[in-house]
Amino acid sequence: MSETILRVENLTMHYTTRAGIVSAVDDVSFTLDEGESLGLVGESGCGKTSVANSLLKLLADNAVIKGGQIRFKGTDFVPLSEEEMRPYRWRNISMVFQAAMNSLNPVYRVGDQIIEALETHLGLYSHAQARQRVTELFTMVGLDPALMDQYPHEYSGGMRQRAVIAMALSCNPDLVIADEPTTALDVIVQDALLRQLKTLQEMIGMSMIYISHDIAVIAEVSDRIGVMYAGKLVELASADEIFHHPVHPYTVALMSAFPSVTGPKRELQTLAGEPPNLLYPPSGCRFHPRCPFATEICRQQEPEFKDHGGGHYAACWHPQEVTV
């Protein structure tokens, strides 16, 4: 067993809005080992990005961490101030953002934006050395190093995404969080980029958290998968388990909605209803209004997130016994 580098316990995060409190992350716990890749999957608006941003405490003005711990190599991030967080950001944990298209500053050369991170974290002030490093990184992600002196608007979408990945890798972080790194790109580029990301991860030996609403994408690259629903982590297990023995009815629905590539074509069982408004989350199990197996207890009490054997965690009163 390799070492656990990240341990998230009972993380709860709220946004305060004029309409009320949005409980975007509620009591989420998981761990991440060195070199491991974890996928987070769930419908749009279920709080994936909120979890990711909480890990680095990159919170919006209206966001508050209500409770829980984020232990990175033993240090709890939750009580740290912005200034105390700074050394960890990018140096230890870096991110590829969902809106990677816009995550480069339009008025600076792409190379300079990477060099800036190198100066800050590695003290790499010598211009020549820094450029050497950027050349390395660009080659690594498959970009022509000559591009480093160009501005973001001169890049195509795919190139920008690669540059952002190069930037994320620049300080040799222990963990890279990739939040829907490929959604804005066309399918072919998506695939190539994802595979490359996976290769890079294995080559460097860092940990990764992949986030996507598309379980097919997650499946390709993750060792373990966490399924989120309405701000809660409802199931967490190895990719294999999630695929073949899903326990939570929501995962089951997700899996059956996911056309298997290898197996026979199955009926697409669609989920009725919409994901809940996180301003007024349903009582008890947040999935109960849409769950075909819901009973009285589901409406009244929250199911515990517990081990169903062999590190297969799920939060459900009526765990399913299906084999897909």
Binding site: N53, L56, L58, D61, E82, E83, M85, R86, P87, Y88, R89, W90, R91, S94, M95, F97, A99, N102, S103, L104, N105, P106, V107, E116, A117, E119, T120, H121, Y125, H127, Y151, H153, E154, V164, M167
Partner: protein, 383 residues
């Protein structure tokens, strides 16, 4: 970039001809006509009247008069002023324009700098109380009735504190036995300011690429050296006290104009900065663990500046209006003051001259802003 500038230049020339046409229409639309004004003016001799009437071609058809109007403009002939008769309008403009330029440029630069700086900090530290105070204060300064504000400034700084003279250009007593005319000294001051800013700008551009940690020292050192040289030269020339006297008179109008125009930039910067702070690249900058100051100044403010520079065009017009009023209140003998007096005494050639001057000046400033913008935004520079 060259194409962009050429295109803007063309547009601006087009706009200027539109202006000429409209200004001509205004003259035509004036009730009665030009000649009656002179016929009633007992101060003018018959010869003068005839000269003016002939120069105006009053009995020609309108379109011909229009082309005459354009033609004489292109020849640089704006007619003869009534109130300064027989001085040509262009002559008066050449004497007065530098004074207005000095007032306007110094207050615009200072107010942009201060407004941008304060606006940036306001958006960054969104404290309730501070925000209310500065917003209310800013709006008050922005909408204050300028002459009244000028009077308050005079009351405070000239009467109560006695820091500055009340108005005008120079103290006549001091200049009685000056070796040169005030205008000569003033033009030399203007030249100095121009040379100094060009030299400093070049210095800043040349030293842009050096190591972040040493750059600051180099910049400030260069600036200090430049100032020392200027002070030395003026001191040696023996005109120092006279220049200081003009500066002393300039101070209060500049301060007034700066105060009324900085608030606009401040409020705008604040809004622009608030929008920029929501951009994804700011989150990226935070995620990169950059120091706060770098995120604020290098990433947020640099981008927030773009819309502020765009709207400088609006602020320029605002500051020009403010400048005219300020000159009127402080009797600063620049273009604004001449415009006001000629409007009051109906010195029409002078007034139109001042209007045309303002238009050219405003359009040129517009062009400068456009070029500045292109430099600031790589999407245009390399577009």
């Amino acid at each position: 970039m060259a194409r962009y500038i050429a295109q803007r230049l063309l547009q601006i020339i087009l706009t200027f001809f539109l202006f000429l046409a409209l200004s001509y229409m205004l003259l035509e639309a004036m009730p009665g006509d030009f000649s009656q004004l002179f016929l009633q003016d007992p101060k003018l001799t018959l010869a003068q009247r005839e000269a003016i009437a002939a120069s105006l071609g009053l009995n020609r058809p309108p379109h011909e008069r229009f082309f005459r109007y354009i033609g004489s403009f292109l020849r640089g002939d704006l007619g003869v002023s009534f109130q300064y008769y027989p001085r040509p309008v262009v002559d008066v403009i050449l004497e007065r324009a530098p004074r207005t330029l000095m007032l306007f440029i110094s207050s615009t630069v200072v107010s942009f700098y201060v407004g941008f700086f304060v606006g940036k900090l306001l958006a960054w530290r969104r404290g309730r109380v501070l925000e209310y105070i500065t917003t209310v204060g800013g709006v008050t300064l922005y909408t204050v009735f300028t002459p009244w504000f000028g009077l308050l400034m005079i009351w405070l700084f000239a009467f109560t504190l006695d820091w500055f003279p009340i108005g005008k250009f120079i103290t006549p007593r001091l200049w009685r036995d000056a070796p040169v005319e005030a205008n000569v000294v003033f033009n030399r001051m203007l030249l100095t300011a121009l040379v100094v800013s060009i030299v400093l700008l070049t210095w800043f551009i040349l030293t842009r690429r050096i190591d972040t940690r040493r750059r600051r020292v180099v910049h400030w050192g260069g600036m200090g050296l430049g100032l020392a040289v200027v002070v030395g030269i003026w001191g040696a020339s023996g005109l120092g006290p006279y220049a200081l006297n003009i500066l002393h008179h300039l101070m209060l109008p500049v301060l007034t104009l700066t105060l009324i125009s900085f608030a606009g930039t401040m409020l705008l910067t604040r809004n622009s900065m608030l929008e920029t702070l929501r951009e994804d690249y700011i989150t990226t900058a935070r995620a990169k663990g950059l120091p706060e100051k770098v995120i604020r100044d290098k990433h947020a403010a640099r981008n927030a500046m773009l819309p502020v520079v765009t709207s400088l065009v609006f602020s320029l017009a605002f500051a020009l209006s403010g400048g005219v009023i300020t000159e009127g209140v402080f009797s600063w003998p620049g273009m604004g003051e001449v415009l006001l007096t000629s409007a009051v005494v109906q010195d029409i050639p002078m007034m139109m001259g001042a209007l045309i001057f303002t238009a050219i000046f405003a359009l040129l400033a517009h062009l400068v802003v456009d070029i500045l913008y292109a430099f600031l935004d790589p999407r245009i520079r390399y577009g």
